[in-house]
Amino acid sequence: MPHIALRTDLFGITSLLDYRRQTAGPLCELTQLLLRGPSTLTEAERELIATYVSYRNDCTFCRSAHGAATCQLPGGSLEQLEAVQRELSTAPASKKMLTLLHIAGKVQQNGRFVTIEDADAARQAGATDLEIHDTVLIAALFCLYNRYVDGLATVTPADPAFYEALGQRISTRGYMMPANEYQPLQYEKK
């Protein structure tokens, strides 16, 4: 049960964005910019960074939702996602993505753990400064979301069909706040 009174027809982060629109607005703007704005990283790559950090923070809601989005976006796959979570160094991803995910994993622990060598390795694998910047900020943003979602004990649905539907919503509509209020997610329960 959540630590505070939230709408019971909304779950996870959605119930929090609905609770406090004052802060939801800029959070959604930032997320839309980082995960859907112009970038040389694909949307699937950016969602993979979000999923990997959420996995490392053991945040089931974020990990499941962004994992679903990763797999639904062009270039993403469940096989790759599972391999990244199992053992990063041997996962079937580009050398550039492996070095960026390595940096994201350091950020998840603490920003101070990212070394010059980590950044150099990413550059040698073809990453630009902007890609390194965005990787660090996406990883940091999910350290925020994971704590927000779990720190207030929001409800984490168990049905995989819920995350498939949420993945559909965020991979097609993105992250901007609805003009009116948040609507419960419609999906076929399994």
Partner: protein
């Protein structure tokens, strides 16, 4: 933050909404949460700058901020603030670390849902900012006057004006 101005704008809007706009917590209380979490993440830049902002807000001074850094349980702050800083410290470790007992202890001090929400979100937000600043190896000046300048400006103007240190 100058590296990507569009992201900087969104980040400043967030911090304005969270630390300056309406909340049942005073601006001074919210800045204390921010500097406390930053101290636990050992992010010197955020800890020192938000410590300076806190010190420039009504009811606070540098002695109080230093006492919170050292050990908030012995700092001259309300029991309510102690219960909220305790929750913020849990959030700094992991969201999952916040227990029913932590929330119950805050409730005993008369803390509202919105105060709990804002505490958790401020703590989570500084877990982002601390990682952003340190993860990219941003320069951390060591002159206290630099931070005092930031502290005075942000306490007076909030987060949406151009930084004095860039003028």
């Amino acid at each position: 933050m100058n590296f990507r101005p569009d992201a900087a704008l969104a980040l400043n809007m967030l911090v304005q909404a969270l630390l300056v706009d309406d909340s049942p917590l005073t601006r001074g209380e919210r800045e204390l949460i921010a500097t406390y979490v930053s101290s636990r993440n050992e992010c010197t830049f955020c800890m020192t700058s938000h410590g300076a902002i806190a010190a420039h807000l009504p009811g606070n001074d540098y002695d109080l901020v230093r006492a919170v850094w050292k050990d908030y349980r012995n700092a001259p702050i309300s029991e309510k603030m102690k219960s909220l800083l305790h929750i913020a410290g849990k959030v700094q470790q992991s969201g999952k670390a916040v227990s029913e007992a932590d929330i119950a202890a805050a409730r005993e001090q008369g803390v509202s849902d919105l105060e709990i929400h804002d505490t958790v979100l401020i703590a989570a937000t500084f877990c982002m900012f601390n990682r952003y600043v340190d993860g990219l190896g941003a320069t951390t000046p060591d002159d206290p006057a630099f931070y005092d300048l930031i502290g005075r400006q942000r306490a007076e103007e909030g987060y949406l004006t151009k930084s004095v240190i860039l003028k």
